[in-house]
């Protein structure tokens, strides 16, 4: 169906047919086709030319708001980049009607995208067009019947305010004020979340006169979902005001928020604490925020304590240098000490994820005297997540006091996690092994942890054995091939004689993982003989994994070894009585294996004797 015809209008050389299909698919039954078509809207517009895009395509799009969210989302996004396609900045206002209707749909993601596109094209309006076309749209949305349109309006004030005349500016401020006291909490929330952004474009006098009163009102709204958003606005407003005004204009509200009756508001204060701290500056921090932070760390709601605990390090880091140590030692540390034995495990684990960072701030002596006991207590915590968080952040302490101080407690903690009854906990600690190895050094590792790493290779859970294999590879990357040759390769190869065929297979999996990092020499001289010998294994699973391993390590080997040693063995396996062994031998020989089948068959291999039945279905 290749039909070529000349276009009337736009690019004359384009074929009409594909465009006709695209246009027809704008109203196809299938959402996916409609979506594809919308994503190629610029192609359609280009073919139609600017005139027809404005007069026909845009009116059609304006009415399509019945569609699925994903189609509308794509449409809202496309229209943000449509200026040139409707004839450039001169005609950009033609895009307003479809975006206006998209800004009133019920789906927040679509509305937000429409607002984003509106903000984008507002920059392409000339100052005159902005007042003639854009600002009236903002007004219409702001006074719309439904809250969806009023919430959308909140995001548009700040983009037109700087570019309009002072009369219009006054109107915009009035509209924003109205929305801040809207009947519906949704609109007040939208206004509260845009308050900071709006304040940034306002003249300082209006910030002081208008914004502060709105801020104070929103911060004492009857709905806590509105109050908590005022906390965010607090950060931007505080940044805008001169230091001397903060005390009178912002601090009363902030103090009130930090002690709000609703835990969600206090949570927000805790969550934004670092930003607040930067915004209000060192003096207010010392006088006001330190006690407030202490209270948040002792809050009755665990969610608040956890949020505050998360900020301990950042807060301490940002304290004014002259009094940092005193404040931490006298005010913060006592609270932190209590949190170490908190009743809630989320609080403890939030603390554990940052507490180590305090050691760099406090220096060696304080760390040893005050922090070390806390670290040690957390290393012995009943909750594995707390211990894991400590272990994963050891590097900070390492820099300050060296790991030896910790190692005595560290080791039992690691061993305990390594032997945890839950395999997911064991898996988590394995994942930290390479990191620990780097921090503790090769000597300590060989002495204390190597045995653990080897023990995981014979874990009864496959996921652990697999992770242990991968772990070995990462360790070799850290410590080098020579270390591998002396410590782990002999142990791995020793397992090739294990009576359990699963352990023998682990040897093969390890070889698969290690051959590349160990290099040609070790692979050819030490690993290959073992693999070749295993081709005589009595268990078929081991034999076909030999075929797979040979294929895997093939690239590392030199061509001589491939020809003289590998090829004969693969040929022998090709005549095996077991059909799977044969199959993999053939695959290895021809090397035409797809990644997908590796995945499937790898899974199958780990299932043991069932493999035959399943393979019948998977064989290509």
């Amino acid at each position: 169906m290749q039909h070529k015809s000349k276009m009337a209008g736009a690019d004359g050389d384009d074929s009409l047919y594909p465009i006709a299909v695209l246009i027809d698919e704008l109203r196809n039954e299938d959402v996916q086709l409609r979506l594809n078509s919308i994503k190629k809207l610029s192609t359609i517009a280009l073919a139609l030319g600017v005139e027809r895009t404005r007069t026909e395509l845009l009116p059609f799009l304006t009415d399509t708001i019945y569609d699925e969210d994903e189609v509308l989302l794509a449409l809202a996004e496309q229209l943000g980049n449509f200026t040139m396609l409707v004839g450039g900045p001169e005609y950009v206002h033609c895009l307003l009607p479809p975006l206006e209707s998209l800004a009133t749909v019920e789906e927040t993601v679509v509305r937000d995208k429409a607002v984003e596109s509106l903000r984008k094209i507002s920059q392409e309006h000339s100052p005159v067009d902005l007042e003639v076309h854009f600002e009236p749209l903002v007004k219409r949305l702001a006074s719309g019947d439904w809250f969806t349109s009023r919430t959308s309006a909140c995001g548009l004030f700040s983009v037109c305010y700087p570019r309009v005349s002072s009369t219009v500016k006054a109107e915009i401020r009035q509209h924003f004020r109205t929305l801040c006291s809207d009947d519906t909490p949704m609109v007040r929330r939208a206004a509260a979340s845009k308050l900071g952004e709006f304040a940034k474009v306002l003249e300082l006098d209006y910030v002081k006169s208008d914004i502060i009163s709105l801020f104070t009102a929103l911060a004492s709204d009857e709905q806590d979902s509105v109050r908590l958003l005022a906390v965010e606005a607090c950060v931007s407003i505080a940044t805008l005001l001169p230091q001397e005004d903060l005390e009178t204009l912002v601090m009363p509200t902030l103090r009130q928020a930090a002690e709000d009756k609703s835990w969600r508001v206090r949570y927000m204060v805790a969550d934004k604490f670092s930003e607040l701290q930067k915004a209000v500056g060192p003096e207010i921090t010392k006088n006001d925020l330190v006690p407030a932070f202490q209270n948040l760390l002792k809050d009755c709601e665990a969610e608040v304590r956890a949020a505050a605990a998360n900020k301990v390090k950042e807060f301490c880091e940002n304290l004014p240098e002259d009094s940092r140590e005193t404040i931490i030692m006298t005010h913060i540390l006592p609270c932190v000490k209590e949190l170490v034995s908190d009743t809630n495990q989320h609080v403890k684990s939030a603390l554990a994820s940052v507490i180590m960072g305090l050691s760099t701030i406090l220096g060696k002596d304080n760390t040893v005297e005050h922090l070390l006991p806390l670290f040690l207590a957390q290393l012995k915590d009943e909750c594995p997540e707390v211990r894991l968080n400590i272990i994963s952040n050891l590097d900070c302490v390492n820099e300050v006091i060296g790991i030896r101080q910790l190692s005595q407690s560290l080791l039992p903690a690691i061993v305990e996690l390594a032997e945890d009854a839950k395999w997911r906990v064991r898996l988590a600690i394995i994942e930290y092994m390479p990191l620990l190895a780097g921090q503790l050094g090769v000597e300590f590792f060989d002495e204390k942890l190597n045995t653990l790493c080897m023990a995981w290779l014979i874990d009864h859970v496959y996921a652990i054995r697999e992770a242990a294999t991968c772990n070995l590879m990462k360790l070799v990357e850290k410590f080098g091939a020579e270390w591998a040759q002396n410590t782990i390769v002999p142990k791995v190869l020793g397992m090739a004689n294990d009576p359990n065929y699963l352990h023998r297979m682990t040897t093969l999996f390890c070889i698969n993982a290690l051959s590349e990092v160990c290099g040609q020499d070790i692979t050819t001289k030490q690993m290959l003989p073992v693999v070749l010998k295993m081709s005589n294994d009595q268990v078929a699973n081991v034999r076909f994994n030999v075929a797979k391993s040979l294929q895997k390590i093939g690239p590392v080997l030199d061509s001589n070894a491939l020809q003289t040693e590998v090829k004969p063995v693969l040929e022998k396996l090709d005549t095996d009585t077991d059909m799977d062994v044969k199959y993999f031998a053939q695959e290895a020989i021809s090397g035409k294996y797809t990644t997908l089948s590796i995945f499937f068959l790898y899974e199958v291999a780990s299932l043991g004797p069932l493999h035959l039945v399943i393979l019948i279905h998977f064989s290509p």
């Binding site: 169906m1 039909h3 015809s5 009337a8 009409l16 047919y17 465009i19 006709a20 299909v21 246009i23 027809d24 704008l26 109203r27 073919a47 139609l48 027809r52 026909e56 395509l57 009116p59 059609f60 009415d63 399509t64 019945y66 009133t104 749909v105 019920e106 927040t108 439904w146 809250f147 969806t148 349109s149 519906t184 909490p185 949704m186 929330r189 009857e222 709905q223 806590d224 979902s225 709000d260 009756k261 609703s262 835990w263 969600r264 009755c300 709601e301 665990a302 969610e303």
Partner: protein, 435 residues
């Protein structure tokens, strides 16, 4: 009040799937939704005011019908999940479309009901009827154009909130912040964001560590109409707990406990069963709440926990019949209750297709009957009386001749006007006050 029928919807035959399981007006009262045992939701719309009868608002007609829930089977627990709609709640209107939440025992769904009166016309490569055109005849591009068409009402599922309840959901309630809602089952209450389906927060959990120690279950829960942090839940022991979500994330500790001391003279084997609360509703003002137990409706002032401020007997004459009501399981019926628009009258259902209204100011009460005869247009509902003594006056009905199979469990009151919706087993009657 002089009620007369404006609309009635009588089911043909006696299909169990037609049994109405919930009735709910939207916030303007223009729409009324019912859910049934067959998982369907039917929405009725009030016709515009007719010119010749200005004070009489129009009747309600079917606006949209859709299948909200389908029967399902939980393979892990070998449990059938009924499609019956347990509750419907309308969301405050956010644009031209209407939204409601409907729930069965396990899954809550958000539905959008929207109107469409235009459709696109004009293809490039085919005719409107679907016949393909010869592509060689296509020499110019056509952009589809919207044309008016007959009004079409569409109901489309927007969100499915599933897998959060182990027990049967008995209540859903939208918060006044319009951002969240709660769903309650026998032992837990969860808090959802209306836009997020893959997680909810557990805010109340009364499940004991050992299920053998279970002594009470949650029977209903509702958010305060304007304080977004406050909600209440009632229990099978006749208590109501008010919780403040500001105090902590988990509301296991209530901030108020409403409970009336038991009257020792009325104590019997059935005391605990009949004190179980089947419904709790805040007044529109938010100052009071109403609870329904088997024999009474109680109004509580939120500022007084020790006893209700008003107690109304719904059908005290059944007290002597509790034994037979226990035997035929009627004693476990869950009657709902509702407030009128200005909180001055409350309404609840009873047996024999009777429903009761209590005027709080005048301390008057009335028993009315929803039946095919009473639903004749323009006829005014006559008060009914149940006699308990030996001698039966004219127009009275004896307790012994009440039909316990005919019960009115679900009623709803228009949020502003004196229009009520009453569901008998599978019929729906809508009555209006004639001034």
């Amino acid at each position: 009040m002089h009620l007369s029928s404006i609309s009635s919807f009588i089911a043909k035959g006696l299909n169990t799937s037609d049994i109405i399981s919930t009735v709910e007006f939207n916030h303007s009262g223009e729409l009324l939704a019912t859910g049934d045992k067959g998982g369907r939701v039917v929405i009725f719309q009030q016709e515009l005011e007719s010119k010749n009868q200005p004070q009489c608002r129009g009747e309600y007609n079917v606006y949209s019908t859709f299948q909200s829930h389908e029967p399902e089977f939980d393979y892990l627990k070998s449990l059938e999940i009924e499609e019956k709609i347990n509750k419907i709640r309308w969301l405050p209107q956010k644009n031209a479309a209407q939204f409601l939440l409907s729930t069965n025992d396990k899954t809550i769904k958000l539905w959008k009901i929207s109107e469409r009166d235009k459709r696109p016309e004009g293809y490039n490569l085919k005719e409107e009827d679907g016949r393909y055109r010869d592509p060689t005849t296509v020499t110019t591009l056509r952009v589809p154009v919207f044309h008016p068409m007959d009004l079409m009402v569409e109901a489309s599922p927007r969100r499915v909130f599933a897998n959060a309840h182990t027990y049967h959901i008995n209540s859903i309630s939208v918060n006044s912040d319009c951002e969240t809602y709660l769903s309650a089952d026998d032992l837990r209450i969860n808090l959802w964001n209306l836009e997020i389906t893959d997680r909810s927060f557990n805010i109340v959990d009364i499940k004991p560590a050992n299920m053998e120690e279970l002594t009470e279950v949650i029977t209903a829960a509702e958010f305060h109409p304007n304080q977004c942090n406050t909600f209440v839940y009632s229990s099978s022991k006749g208590t109501i707990r008010l919780c403040d979500m500001r105090a902590s994330a988990l509301c296991d500790q209530h901030s108020k406990l409403f409970e009336e001391p038991e009257d020792p003279s009325n104590r019997s084997f059935f005391s605990e069963i009949i004190s179980s609360i089947s419904d709790v509703k805040f007044s529109h003002s938010g100052r009071y709440m109403m609870t329904r137990d088997y024999l009474t409706v109680k109004i509580w002032d939120l500022n007084m926990e020790s006893r209700p401020v008003e107690t109304y007997q719904v059908h005290e004459y059944l007290r002597s019949k509790l034994c037979s009501l226990y035997e035929n399981d009627c004693i476990f019926d869950k009657f709902e209750c509702c407030w009128n628009g200005n909180d001055s009258v409350v309404m609840t259902g009873s047996y024999n297709n009777f429903f009761r209204m209590f005027d709080r100011g005048y301390r008057q009460d009335v028993t009315l009957e929803a039946s095919r005869e009473s639903s004749k247009p323009r006829s005014v509902l006559k008060p009914r009386k149940v006699c308990t003594g030996g001698k039966r006056k004219k127009d009275e009905i004896s307790v012994d001749s009440l039909d316990f199979n005919k019960k009115i469990l679900h009623t709803a009151w228009h949020p502003q006007d004196n229009i009520i919706a009453v569901a008998t087993t599978n019929n729906l009657y809508i009555f209006q006050d004639r001034l």
